[in-house]
């Protein structure tokens, strides 16, 4: 696993789940200060040819609109390569944000890695 401490209160760990699917697990708070670091980690994955991504937000305590913007931007990039994104999230407040912004309709939101993987391919 490639683990990178990318900021004050954010960490992104990356590993392959299958030949075509990579997992990026984010830990911490994704806000206006830390989201550029998350963007950098996800962009790096795309540059390595990983276009099907599972993004784990299980250890994320908080996400704001800049964090959502990073996820939307990443989805746009992977779609250019016929890829897609599945999100793992169990935090009710974060799920609420996905719901009220309507993003729940464009991202698949799943309970765990197995469920995300099953729906991704």
């Amino acid at each position: 696993m490639d683990s990178k401490d990318v900021g004050m209160d954010i960490k992104v760990s990356v590993r392959d789940l299958t030949n075509s699917v990579a997992l990026a697990e984010v830990q911490g708070e994704i806000d206006v200060y830390t989201s550029p670091k998350v963007k950098e980690a996800l962009t790096e994955l795309i540059e390595k040819g990983k276009y099907n991504l599972v993004i784990g937000l299980e250890e994320v305590r908080y996400i704001d609109s800049t964090g959502l913007g990073v996820l939307i931007g990443t989805l746009k990039k992977v779609r250019e390569h016929n890829g897609t994104i599945a999100i793992i999230c169990n935090n009710p407040q974060i799920k609420k944000i996905f719901n009220i912004t309507g993003l729940v309709k464009i991202f698949g939101i799943y309970k765990n890695t197995d469920e995300a993987l099953k729906n991704l391919v």
Binding site: E29, D31, V32, Y62, D64, S65, T66, L68, I97, I100
Partner: protein
């Protein structure tokens, strides 16, 4: 539990690093008021969105967060020193409007903008 009226102002540098500090301070206050856990989380996100917007609009100049506890609500105003209106409807503003009970924008006579928002006690948005 804080059960009386009060007023204080936070002033922080116009740097995204400080948004987390404001979030922590405001959630510390909101936890001690007649608000649900969900209300506190809503307020944290709304004030952080307002701060991020103020920092951008104010071109990195100091921002201030005015916190007023009245009988029936927590009233938060985030002011910057930018020029022109800052009420363009982006995702951040959409979230603030969705999460708070009342939201208003004020132009401060050429000295910046203020975004005011209220969360009423004892009820959900």
């Amino acid at each position: 539990m804080i059960d009386q009226q009060g007023h204080f102002v936070l002033k922080v540098p116009g740097n995204p690093k400080y948004v987390g500090v404001v979030r922590l301070a405001i959630s510390g206050l909101a936890c001690r008021l007649d608000l649900t856990y969900e209300d506190v989380e809503d307020i944290k996100l709304a004030v952080a969105e307002a701060c991020a917007k103020a920092i951008t609009h104010g071109n990195g100049q100091e921002i201030s967060i005015d916190c007023e506890i009245s009988d029936d609500c927590l009233n938060l105003s985030v002011s910057d020193k930018g020029t022109g209106p800052q009420d363009d409807e982006d995702l951040g503003i959409f979230l603030i409007r969705s999460l708070m009970d009342e939201v208003n924008f004020h132009l401060l006579n050429g000295q910046g903008c203020r975004l005011s928002m209220k969360k009423y006690f004892g009820k959900k948005a």
